[in-house]
C-alpha cells in the first residue's frame, strides 16, 4: 500500500541526505539563462526616464527629440503633464530602441520639467513627521503597575534603518506581444510565475489564459519580486506599440536600489522590567518607522517572549519614497533586533548571563520553548558560550571581544500548490509545476521527493518549473515554497504510483496493496524475484502517457495528514571583536541552530542558513539607505556607497539543523526566512558585551561605535 505520509526515517533513501542542486552545473558554467540573458529575434532594448525629485508635478514633457533619436522604435509616456510624482526616481517615460546604447541616448533626449513640491523623507524623528498613523495598541495585563513594581528596569532606544533588497539580477522582463493572436509572452525575473500571468492580463486587457509567463532562472528576489510592476506592464505595452516586437527592460542599479525594494525601518523606545531573579514582568514600547508612502509594517513587540504585562504602540510615518516590499521574514528582523537588544540590556542590569536569563524565562517562550532550550544547549556547546562568556565591558586593550545571542520564530507552512507527474511509455518520468527557483533549490527538492516516492534514481526524474502554463503553485515568499511544492509533488507521485500498482498487480499475480517500488522496480513486498522493471511496468499502460496530479493542502475530507507544518524556532550566537580606537566591528564567529521540520535536501537547506547568516551580517555591519533630507533622493544608490558584506567580512560560520525524532514528524517547514531574523540582534548584543555600552542603531559602522563610546546612552539620534 502506498502511504501518502512521508516515509519513516529508516525507509528514506534520498530525503534528508546531501544532494547537490541539480541545476548547479547550469549555473556554474554560465549556461543557465536568466531573464537578463534572454535574447529574442529582433528584440528591442528599453530604458526608463526617472523623476529626479522626491515630490513634484510634471509641468512640461517633450519626447520629440527622443522619438527622432537614432534607432528608436517606440516611446511611451508613463506619467504626463500634471501628474504628481510621490517619490524620487519614479518612472516617467519609457523608450525602446534597437540597442541599449541608442535607448540610453533617447532617454537622455527626453525633456521633462517639474514644479518641485515639499517632501518628507525623515523616518527617524517621530515628532517631526507631518503625518503619522497610529496602529492599534496591543495591551495585556497592567503594564504600568507591573513596571512600577519591577525590581529592575531598563529603558533604551534602538533602531534599524531602511535597507534595500538589492537583488543582483535587477527587476525586469522581456515582453513579446503577438498582435495576430492577442497573446503576451513575458519572461520575468519573478518569485511568482503563476500569479504574474493574471496580473499582466488584467492590466493589459487580455484574458489571463493569453498571457504566458516564463522564468527559468532568476537572480534573487528576497521578497521584492511578486508583482508585474508598472515597468513590467509598460514593457508589455511598448512591445504592443512597437508592433509586437520583443522588448527587454531591466532596471539599472540605481533604479534597483532606489525603487525596487525597501525593508521598512523601525525605531523604538522600550522599557522592560523584571523581578530581582530575572523573571520578566513588564514591557512598554513605542515604536515607529517607515516603508514609504504606505507607511511601515508593524514589528512584533515584544518578540518571542510573552511578557505578562505589556503595552506596545506603533506609529507609521509616510515618506516620499517608493513603497516597501516584503523583505525576508517581514517585520521579524525589526521586532527581533528591538526586543533582543532591550532584553539584553535588562539582563546586563540584572548582572545575568543572557543564556541564564533566557532559561529563567522559559515559561514565556510559548509553544517553541522546548525547542529553544534544546537549541540553546547545542549553540552553547558550538560557541563555547558558558566557558567563555564574561560580563559586559571587561576587555582590556584596544580590541575587545564579546558574545551575544538572539532567538527567533517563523511559520513556514507550505502554500497552495499543485503538481503533475507524467509517466511515459518508455518509463521516463516528468514533473511539471508552475513554481520557481529563487535560489533555494526548488528543482532539486522536487526531484528528491518524486524519486524517493517512485523508488527511482534521482536522474530518472525530469522536473519542469518556471512556466505559468504548468499546474499552479504559490509565489515563493514567507518560506512557503518547500512545504507547498514537496507536499504537492509527494501526492502527485503517490497517485502515479497507485496507478502503476493497479496495473502491475495482475501482471505479477498479486494485489496492489502488496507491491512496493524499490530500486527502479515494482515488486511484491519481500519477494525480490517477483518484480517488473520500472520500464516494464510503464509499458503496461500501452502507448499513451499517463498523468497523475497532487496538491497541497490535503484534499478536504480525505482525512489525510498534512505533509507540511508550521512554527520553526531558532537561536543564534555571535562572537565579535570591536576595535575601540577605530570603531571597526569584526565578526569572529556565528552559530546558527535552526529547526525546520523534515529536511528534504540537507545540503541546500544548510545553504539557506549560511546565506541568511551572511545577509544578516551584511545588514548588521553595513547596510542602510541614506536619503538626502534636502532633495529627498537616495544618496547611496550604487555598490560603492550602499555597502554590503564581502567574503572577508563573515568570520567562521557554524550551522546546525534540528532533525530527527521530535522534529521530522511535523512535515516540511520552510527555511528561507527564520535564520535571517536573528543575526543583527545577536551581533548587536555581542558588540554591547564587548564594549560595555550599547550601540543602539544599525548598522554598526565605525562612526556609530565611536559615538556610542563617546556618549553612552545617547540613544538613536
Amino acid at each position: 500500500m502506498v502511504e501518502t505520509s512521508w516515509p519513516k526515517a529508516e525507509a528514506r533513501r534520498l530525503l534528508g541526505t546531501r544532494v547537490s542542486r541539480l541545476d548547479g552545473p547550469a549555473k556554474v558554467t554560465g549556461t543557465a539563462k536568466y531573464t537578463y540573458d534572454v535574447a529574442r529575434p529582433g528584440m528591442l532594448h528599453a530604458r526608463l526616464v526617472h523623476c529626479p525629485h522626491a515630490h513634484a508635478r510634471i509641468t512640461k514633457l517633450d519626447v520629440s527629440a527622443a522619438q527622432a533619436s537614432p534607432g528608436v522604435k517606440a516611446v511611451r509616456v508613463i506619467q504626463g503633464v500634471g501628474a504628481e510624482i510621490q517619490w524620487a526616481h519614479d518612472e516617467i517615460v519609457l523608450v525602446a530602441a534597437a540597442t541599449g546604447e541608442e535607448a540610453e541616448d533617447a532617454a537622455r533626449a527626453v525633456v521633462v520639467e517639474y514644479e518641485v513640491l515639499a517632501h518628507h523623507v525623515d523616518d527617524l524623528h517621530l515628532d517631526q513627521a507631518p503625518e503619522t498613523r497610529a496602529e492599534e495598541e496591543e495591551l495585556a495585563g497592567e503594564p504600568e503597575k507591573a513596571m512600577a513594581e519591577a525590581a529592575v528596569r531598563s529603558k533604551g532606544t534602538y533602531g534599524l534603518p531602511v535597507i534595500a533588497h538589492n537583488c543582483l539580477e535587477p527587476h525586469g522582463q522581456v515582453c513579446e506581444w503577438n498582435a495576430a493572436k492577442d497573446t503576451l509572452t513575458a519572461h520575468c525575473s519573478t518569485q511568482a510565475v503563476a500569479a504574474l500571468a493574471p496580473q499582466f492580463a488584467e492590466r493589459v486587457g487580455l484574458p489571463a489564459g493569453n498571457v504566458h509567463v516564463i522564468c527559468q532562472y532568476m537572480g534573487g528576489g528576497f521578497g521584492s519580486k511578486f508583482s508585474a510592476d508598472r515597468w513590467g506592464i509598460e514593457c508589455a505595452e511598448i512591445s504592443r506599440q512597437a508592433g509586437g516586437v520583443p522588448v527587454k527592460l531591466m532596471l539599472d542599479r540605481r533604479a534597483e536600489l532606489t525603487i525596487a525594494g525597501d525593508r521598512p525601518s523601525a525605531y523604538a523606545e522600550i522599557e522592560v522590567g523584571a523581578q530581582a531573579d530575572g523573571t520578566l514582568t513588564a514591557w512598554i514600547s513605542k515604536s515607529w518607522g517607515s516603508g514609504g508612502l504606505g507607511g511601515s509594517g508593524r514589528p512584533p513587540l515584544p518578540y518571542v517572549f510573552q511578557i505578562p504585562h505589556r503595552r506596545s504602540v506603533h506609529h507609521s510615518i509616510p515618506t516620499h519614497t517608493a513603497s516597501s516590499r516584503a523583505w525576508r521574514a517581514p517585520n521579524h528582523p525589526q521586532g527581533c533586533y528591538l526586543s533582543m537588544s532591550a532584553l539584553d540590556d535588562l539582563a546586563a542590569r540584572l548582572g545575568m548571563d543572557p543564556l541564564a536569563f533566557v532559561r529563567k524565562n522559559e515559561a514565556l517562550l510559548g509553544p517553541l520553548a522546548k525547542t529553544y532550550l534544546e537549541e540553546l544547549e547545542i549553540a552553547d556547546r558550538l560557541m563555547g558560550w558558558s566557558a567563555r562568556w564574561k560580563p559586559r565591558g571587561g576587555g582590556k586593550g584596544p580590541v575587545v571581544r564579546g558574545l551575544g545571542l538572539s532567538l527567533h520564530m517563523w511559520g513556514g507552512s507550505g502554500h497552495r500548490s499543485s503538481c503533475e507527474v507524467t509517466l511515459q511509455p518508455d518509463g521516463s518520468v516528468e514533473a511539471k509545476i508552475a513554481t520557481q527557483d529563487i535560489g533555494t533549490g526548488t528543482r532539486t527538492v522536487l526531484a528528491i521527493v518524486i524519486a524517493e516516492t517512485l523508488g527511482l534514481p534521482l536522474e530518472e526524474v525530469r522536473v519542469q518549473i518556471g512556466d505559468s502554463r504548468y499546474p499552479a503553485s504559490g509565489g515563493s515568499g514567507g518560506s512557503t515554497t518547500v512545504g507547498g511544492v514537496s507536499a504537492a509533488a509527494r501526492r502527485a507521485a503517490v497517485n502515479a504510483l497507485r496507478m502503476v500498482f493497479d496495473k502491475a498487480a495482475p501482471a505479477l499475480g498479486t494485489t496492489p496493496d502488496l507491491l512496493e517500488a524499490v530500486d527502479g522496480s515494482i515488486r511484491v513486498q519481500g519477494e525480490p524475484g517477483r518484480a517488473l522493471t520500472w520500464r516494464q511496468a510503464a509499458a503496461l499502460f500501452g502507448r499513451a502517457p499517463v498523468t497523475a496530479t497532487g496538491g497541497n493542502p490535503a484534499p478536504s475530507g480525505s482525512g489525510e495528514l498534512e505533509l507540511t507544518g508550521s512554527g520553526a524556532g531558532g537561536v543564534q550566537m555571535a562572537e565579535v571583536d570591536v576595535d575601540r580606537e577605530t570603531g571597526v566591528v569584526k565578526i569572529r564567529k556565528m552559530v546558527a541552530v535552526q529547526d525546520c521540520g523534515l529536511v528534504v535536501d540537507l545540503k541546500t537547506a544548510e545553504s539557506q542558513v549560511y546565506g541568511a547568516l551572511i545577509m544578516g551580517i551584511s545588514s548588521a555591519l553595513a547596510e542602510e539607505k541614506v536619503l538626502d533630507p534636502v532633495t529627498g533622493t537616495l544618496l547611496n544608490a550604487d555598490f560603492e556607497s550602499y555597502k554590503m558584506a564581502g567574503i572577508g567580512d563573515i568570520g567562521e560560520l557554524v550551522v546546525h539543523l534540528m532533525t530527527g525524532p521530535g522534529y521530522d514528524e511535523r512535515g516540511v517547514i520552510g527555511l528561507g526566512e527564520p535564520p535571517v531574523i536573528s543575526p543583527a540582534a545577536a551581533i548587536g548584543n555581542a558588540v554591547a558585551n564587548a564594549l560595555g555600552v550599547r550601540v543602539p542603531l544599525l548598522p554598526f559602522t565605525p562612526q556609530r561605535v565611536l559615538d556610542a563610546l563617546e556618549s553612552p546612552g545617547r540613544g538613536i539620534v
Binding site: H45, G439, E575, R588, M644, G646, V655
Partner: protein, 252 residues
C-alpha cells in the same frame, strides 16, 4: 580598465567617456593595448587637433579574440566588452549587475587577468585574449573549480556565480595554493547577495593545493567542540538504531 592584479589601472575612464554620450568620438590614445584599431588606419579618418585619430561615434569594425576564436564585429566605440559579449556574441555567462566596476559579476579573463568586463571597452580588448566562463567547462564536463562550486553548494540564485568562478580561476592561476586570507583578498572584488561566501571559500580551498592544511584556516576556538560532536537531544523513538550522522557543519 579595471585589473585586480597589482598593475596600475590603464586605459580610458569609461564613466567619464560614457558621459559624453554618442556625440563624442573616442580618441585612440595608443593605450589601447598597442594594437591599431581596425578603422584607425584609413587616411580619411578624422583627426583631433593633436593628430590622434578619432573613432566613432558611429559603429566601427573591431576584432576580438574570445575563448580562442577570432570574431569580427561592428560596434560603436562606446560599447563595453561586457555588452559586446552579452548582446553581440550571446555569451551571457558574465552578468551585468552594477555596470561600474564594483561587483565582479561581469568578471572575465583578459590575458589571464581578471577584469571587470563592464569597465573595459570592447575596443580596448582588441589584441587581447578574452576568456569567459563559457570557455572553462560545460555542464557535462565541468572544470574542477566549477565542480567544487557545485559540490560545496557555492551558489544559490547563481547570478554572481560565473563572476566568482572566473575571479577564483584567476586567483588560482597566479597562486595555486592560496591561504584563506589570500582567498578573501583575491575574491574581495565580487559580491553575492544570496550569501554563498561560505560555500565559495570551501570550494576554492578544496582547489588550493594543501588548502586544508593551511594554518590560518579554521581557527579553532578554545572550548568549542567540533560540530560533529553534537547530537539533537529529542528522545529517539526507535531503540538500538545506530546514532545518526551529526548534522552540525562548520564552514571553517
Amino acid at each position: 580598465m579595471t585589473s585586480r592584479g597589482d598593475d596600475p589601472p590603464r586605459g580610458l575612464s569609461r564613466r567619464a567617456f560614457l558621459r559624453g554620450g554618442a556625440a563624442a568620438g573616442v580618441l585612440s590614445t595608443g593605450l589601447l593595448r598597442g594594437v591599431p584599431p581596425v578603422e584607425a588606419a584609413p587616411a580619411a579618418a578624422p583627426k583631433s587637433e593633436a593628430g590622434v585619430p578619432i573613432l566613432g561615434p558611429g559603429p566601427v569594425a573591431i576584432k576580438l579574440r574570445v575563448n580562442g576564436q577570432e570574431v569580427a564585429l561592428r560596434l560603436e566605440p562606446r560599447v563595453t566588452l561586457l555588452d559586446a559579449l552579452r548582446t553581440r556574441l550571446e555569451l551571457t555567462g558574465a552578468k551585468k549587475v552594477c555596470d561600474r566596476g564594483t561587483c565582479g559579476a561581469c568578471t572575465v579573463l583578459l590575458d589571464g587577468k581578471a577584469v571587470y568586463a563592464c569597465s573595459v571597452l570592447a575596443l580596448e580588448a582588441q589584441g587581447g585574449d578574452v576568456r569567459t566562463v563559457e570557455s572553462l567547462g560545460s555542464v557535462e564536463r565541468m572544470h574542477p573549480l566549477q565542480a567544487a562550486f557545485v559540490d560545496h553548494d557555492a551558489q544559490q540564485c547563481g547570478f554572481c556565480t560565473p563572476g566568482f568562478v572566473m575571479a577564483a580561476k584567476a586567483l588560482l592561476d597566479r597562486n595555486p595554493s592560496p591561504s584563506l586570507a589570500e582567498i578573501h583578498h583575491g575574491l574581495a572584488g565580487n559580491f553575492c547577495r544570496c550569501g554563498t561566501y561560505a560555500g565559495i571559500r570551501r570550494a576554492v580551498l578544496q582547489l588550493a593545493e594543501a588548502g586544508a592544511a593551511n594554518p590560518d584556516y579554521a581557527p579553532g576556538l578554545p572550548g568549542a567542540p567540533e560540530p560533529g560532536e553534537i547530537e539533537n537531544p529529542r528522545p529517539r523513538r526507535q531503540k538500538n538504531k545506530k546514532r545518526k550522522k551529526p548534522r552540525g557543519t562548520g564552514d571553517g
